[in-house]
């Protein structure tokens, strides 16, 4: 879902940069409050996994493919703020190193996938688990629902930006984007649940979403 240059108006591009920059500054501030030195290696590993997994496009339907996003997984493993930073890093490297996603659209891409996708998905996870006992099965089911939602939300915002930019008509682009990403979201849910399950098996203590309360 990396938007290339040329799809978005300069207003949307600027707004994307503004919101994403503000969120990044806020994320760094929040992270500095939590004294946890152990997070650095996990940030690196999570970034590497997301980068690798994002390259693995899988076919969905009618000659289209989708790929893992990983924003929600990063936030589950690292907490929302370190997770957001990791997604930002991955998107910056993809843009500047691999020409994946436009430079003018980088702010909007960060907003869609990191903030709209990741943070919204994280909120869904927290809401689903808030009133339920902390059981493995509940954690995994909530994680898969939140993962699906994160891709759906990212695609919905992407469609709105395309429509506001005058690139496509809302009543056509919104259903098209959300329907195809509802399918891609199933892949997201499967991968997120598999990785989360593995982490819970071997090192449940590093899964940050289970140790910190939402603020």
């Amino acid at each position: 879902m990396h938007i290339p240059d040329g799809f978005l108006s300069w207003e949307i591009c600027s707004a994307g940069y503004l919101v994403s920059a503000a969120a990044t500054v806020y994320a760094v501030k929040q992270l500095k409050k939590e004294s946890d030195e152990k997070i650095a290696p996990l940030m690196g590993v999570t970034a590497a996994f997301i980068f690798a997994a994002q390259m693995m496009n899988f076919p969905v339907m009618g000659g289209a493919s989708g790929h893992f996003l990983g924003a929600l997984l990063a936030m589950l493993m690292l907490g929302p703020w370190a997770g957001l930073l990791v997604i930002n890093l991955v998107l910056i490297v993809q843009c500047l190193g691999f020409a994946d996603g436009g430079l003018t659209a980088l702010g909007a891409n960060t907003f869609n996938m990191g903030i709209a996708g990741g943070l919204a998905g994280y909120l869904v996870f927290k809401l689903l688990t808030a009133f339920l006992p902390q059981k493995r099965s509940i954690t995994l089911i909530a994680g898969s629902i939140a993962a699906w939602f994160s891709v759906f939300a990212a695609s919905a915002f992407c469609a709105v930006e395309l429509a506001v930019s005058g690139t496509a008509a809302f009543r056509i682009v919104f259903p098209a984007m959300t329907i195809i990403h509802s399918l891609i979201g199933i892949g997201e849910a499967l991968i997120t649940t598999a990785v989360l399950g593995m982490a819970l098996n071997y090192r449940p203590d590093i899964v940050k979403a289970l140790t910190v309360r939402i603020r």
Partner: protein
């Protein structure tokens, strides 16, 4: 319980292996957004990313002839780069904690 260092190491090696060995076999079909853009006829508005001096443009490493190696090396370099950046960012932030 498995040592945290071992868990991280295994996860990192697995990620690098996916990036190197598996990424060349990923689906080459257009992704969700590209597909919608093609179907709705605005794909032509996408500007070629020539303005970005990306060294590994479109996930292909120059200098390598073998198509599997071109993609695999690009994936490996990218995964290694974001690992270093993630680790570095995490250390920078926790170091600034120690200074306080």
């Amino acid at each position: 319980m498995m040592k945290a260092q071992h868990f991280f190491l295994i996860a990192l090696l697995l990620s690098l292996a996916i990036a190197f060995f598996l990424s060349p076999f990923a689906s080459g079909d257009p992704d969700g957004l590209e597909k919608v853009a093609q179907d709705q006829d605005f794909i032509a508005q996408a500007e070629d990313a020539a303005n970005i001096p990306a060294p590994l443009r479109y996930y292909e490493a120059p200098l390598f002839q073998n198509p599997l190696l071109r993609v695999g090396i690009a994936g490996l370099l990218g995964a290694a780069a974001v690992y270093c950046l993630g680790l570095g960012a995490g250390r920078l932030i926790s170091r600034s904690l120690g200074d306080k």
